[in-house]
């Protein structure tokens, strides 16, 4: 598992440190970035995407000659799916002098390290996490969240659906009984209601139906949904739960009952698992859909590298977002020539560049990501080899839906 290149790099770094006096090493010494993500337990699949994205970013940057001639070295640590593990990893790397970090997957693990950023004088990119706490009550200046806040991506989602399908006025929602998913259904509902009200319409948003997290059988909740009389469905289950849900729903012919079905954020994971038994049509938000990104060489290069690495033309959106986290750091280091937080923070606040996911920019007040939003519609296709295809994609500016900035305070 320890691949050779990684090992060699580690050895030379150690030898270099031992042999050469400090001033001689200035140019060749790599820029070290610590990546803390979930690489064991149930969240491992997302951590794996994040690791892939970061590694590809590092490879791509180093292939171009690094940043100002210095290569980037990625040091990966497993947070063991716990705040404890994240803390151990963070303190180890920070104690070792690492000043640049990327951290991702579960909110609680990120919340554990946030209080330590300032005292360790590090700059951290948070990968993907949508929780509001990070940019509000737990805001810290040394952190940039390259992830989509719930009001932004799901408020935008509701807005888009209300705009495109004004005829659908009765919505059902489903979510796991996990509190963080409540933020998502709330945001979708708010976005939908706001748009409908602006158009002078009324929508009926039913109370979300709750299903057990990591459950085995969802048929009762499926029948509740199919008997709800709603025309639109917003499904806020995640991973295996979502796929099991769609799968068990097939015998109820759920996709015939709804005029419009929206998945929250599972995007092509659903299609890849269901194959030719995919539903007829399903919307989903995605953080990165390379096929939709026109005139984006960064995205193209990343996609090509990913296909070469994993032999999979449909990377998960985490790959793109993770790539952009590293790219953000590299961009700022390139422009300032420094890795110190004091120099990097203002640079990242000010910069705007094209990453794989589109324009990468952060709101100055709370370091919330203010990039583009992408939604795709995909479904069953007889003609496609995979049994499904993506029918359309929509991109819009996320900044319009970003919630008010209240750094240091909870959003009311």
């Amino acid at each position: 598992m320890l691949d050779r290149r990684h090992f060699m790099l580690g050895t030379t770094a150690v030898l270099g440190t031992a042999a050469a006096p400090k001033f001689l090493r200035a140019q060749s010494e790599p820029i070290r970035i610590g990546l803390i993500t979930t690489l064991s337990g149930p969240g491992q699949i997302y951590g794996q995407y994040i690791q892939d994205g970061c590694e590809l970013a590092v490879d791509l940057i180093n292939a171009r000659g690094g940043v100002n001639g210095q290569p980037i070295e990625l040091i990966v640590r497993d947070d063991r799916n716990s705040p404890d593990g994240a803390l151990v990893a963070f303190r180890e790397l920070a104690g070792d002098g690492v000043k640049l970090f990327a951290q991702g997957t579960f909110t609680a693990n990120v919340l554990a390290t946030l209080p330590l950023l300032e005292q360790n004088d590090v700059t951290m990119m948070v990968v993907g996490t949508s929780s509001l706490a990070i940019t509000h009550q737990n805001y810290t200046r040394n952190m940039f969240r390259l992830g989509y806040s719930s009001p932004m991506c799901f408020g935008g989602y509701g807005h888009l659906m209300a705009e495109r399908f004004p005829e659908i006025s009765n919505w059902a929602m489903v979510r796991s009984d996990v509190q963080s998913l409540k933020d998502i259904t709330d945001a979708f509902e708010a976005g939908m209601r706001a748009k409908a009200a602006a158009d002078g319409r009324e929508v009926n948003m039913q109370e979300p139906i709750l299903v057990p997290y990591n459950g085995a059988d969802f048929r009762n909740q499926i029948s509740q949904v199919t008997n709800s009389g709603a025309e639109g469905l917003f499904n806020c289950l995640q991973g295996a739960d979502a796929i099991t849900y769609y799968k068990q729903a097939r015998s109820f012919q759920m996709d015939k009952q709804f005029k419009l079905m929206c998945d929250s954020a599972n995007e092509l994971t659903v299609a890849k698992a269901l194959g030719n038994k995919m539903l007829d049509s399903l919307w989903s938000w995605t953080g990165w859909y390379p096929q939709a990104a026109e005139n984006n060489p960064t995205s193209d290069a990343l996609l090509a590298a990913y296909i070469e690495k994993r032999d999979d033309p449909y990377p998960n959106w985490f790959v793109g977002v993770a790539h952009d986290c590293i790219a953000t750091l590299a961009e700022a280091i390139g422009s300032t020539g420094s890795t110190a937080a004091a120099d990097l923070i203002p640079a990242i606040e000010a910069q705007s560049f094209q990453g794989a996911t589109g324009t990468v920019a952060f709101r100055t007040e709370d370091h919330s990501f203010a990039g583009d939003l992408t939604y795709i519609r995909f479904g069953k296709s007889e003609s496609s080899e995979t049994g499904w295809e993506v029918f359309e994609s929509v991109q819009m500016a996320g900044v319009d839906f970003l919630e008010p900035a209240t750094p240091g305070r909870e959003l009311q």
Binding site: P42, Q44, I45, Q48, D177, I209, L210, V211, P212, Y213, N214, G215, A216, D217, R219, N220, Q221, S223, Q224, G239, A240, D241, I243, T244, K247, Q248, R250, S251, F252, Q253, T269, K272, A273, L274, G275, N276, K277
Partner: protein
């Protein structure tokens, strides 16, 4: 109402399929096998490799499941030979930790072999839609699971209580020393039951495959519920486990009808209540 309980019964029988092997191994070795969920998952992965995305017919599914069960059963014998049999004379809690370690190894091996991605296998043709019974729509795969649960129960109950090999196993479970005295080969009987228990885990994995999503977390989904089932029923008691699975289904149904805001919580409450009312399980603890 009826619909709710039929669906909950599907869940109950699915859990019973997993719990059957668990209660068997408890009956003879007095251990809670933490690795059971992982081997259940292995059975599902093996079956999916055998049949691809979709089984040709119900018999293909059953056949592939049995084959996977066989493979997992053989693996069970390997575990018994190299791990469990070495720990027979030490504190029983070592066995518990050993099964925990085996679970970690099994999950790790599954991740390395099949990766982390989600996979899905469809029900065989004919079982993918539904039928109407008493004016209620019932998915046909639900009926298949309920049927499979009842069939496995009947077979096991017959084997344990009526057949020669079952009685032999019971004799060993009751008193290893006595069965040795009777000239019965004790270790052979133990191996038989351990193999059967693991094979049942693999079989359950295969049969439930079209109902679930394949991912390395599949084992966790069922393990705790299966534990609860065999504890409510009375450890090592196959009839108890069957009844407990039905009780579990009723509790789950009530949960959905009356407490939809807290899915899955009543099961814990029910289990705590059951344990306090019947401290040794509904039918009492049994050595098979």
């Amino acid at each position: 109402m009826l619909f709710t309980f039929i669906n909950s019964l599907t869940l109950g029988m699915a859990v019973f399929l997993v719990a059957a092997g668990l209660t068997l191994i408890f009956g003879i070795m007095r251990i809670l096998n933490f690795a059971h969920g992982a081997f259940f998952m292995l059975g599902a992965y093996l079956t999916s490799t055998l049949i691809g995305d979709m089984p040709g017919s119900i018999w293909v599914l059953i056949g592939a499941s049995m084959l996977s069960g066989l493979v997992v059963g053989v693996l069970g014998l390997v575990v018994q030979h190299f791990v469990l049999s070495k720990l027979e004379d030490v504190d029983e809690h070592f066995m518990l930790i050993a099964t925990y370690a085996v679970m970690l190894l099994c999950v790790g091996a599954i991740k390395m072999t099949w990766g982390l991605e989600f996979h899905s296998v469809d029900p065989p043709p004919g079982l993918d839609l539904g039928v109407v019974i008493f004016g209620t729509f019932v998915p046909s795969f639900s009926l298949f699971i309920i049927g499979a649960g009842v069939a496995v129960f009947l077979v096991l109950d017959h084997v344990i209580h009526c057949s020669w090999s079952g009685k032999l196993a019971v004799a060993i479970a009751r008193d290893g020393w006595m069965s040795n005295l009777m000239g019965v080969n004790g270790p052979l009987g133990v191996r038989m039951v351990v193999g059967a228990s693991f094979a049942l885990a693999g079989l359950a994995g295969g049969l439930l495959l079209p109902n679930q999503t394949l991912s390395p977390a599949l084992g966790d989904t069922f393990l705790l519920m299966a534990f609860i089932t065999i504890v409510i029923g009375g450890l090592g008691n196959i009839r108890g486990a069957f009844i407990a699975a039905i009780i579990l289904a009723v509790i789950d149904g009530l949960n959905i009808l009356f407490l939809p805001g807290f899915p899955g919580v009543l099961i814990y409450v029910g289990m705590v209540t059951c344990l306090l009312l019947w401290p040794n399980g509904i039918l009492g603890e049994s050595r098979l």
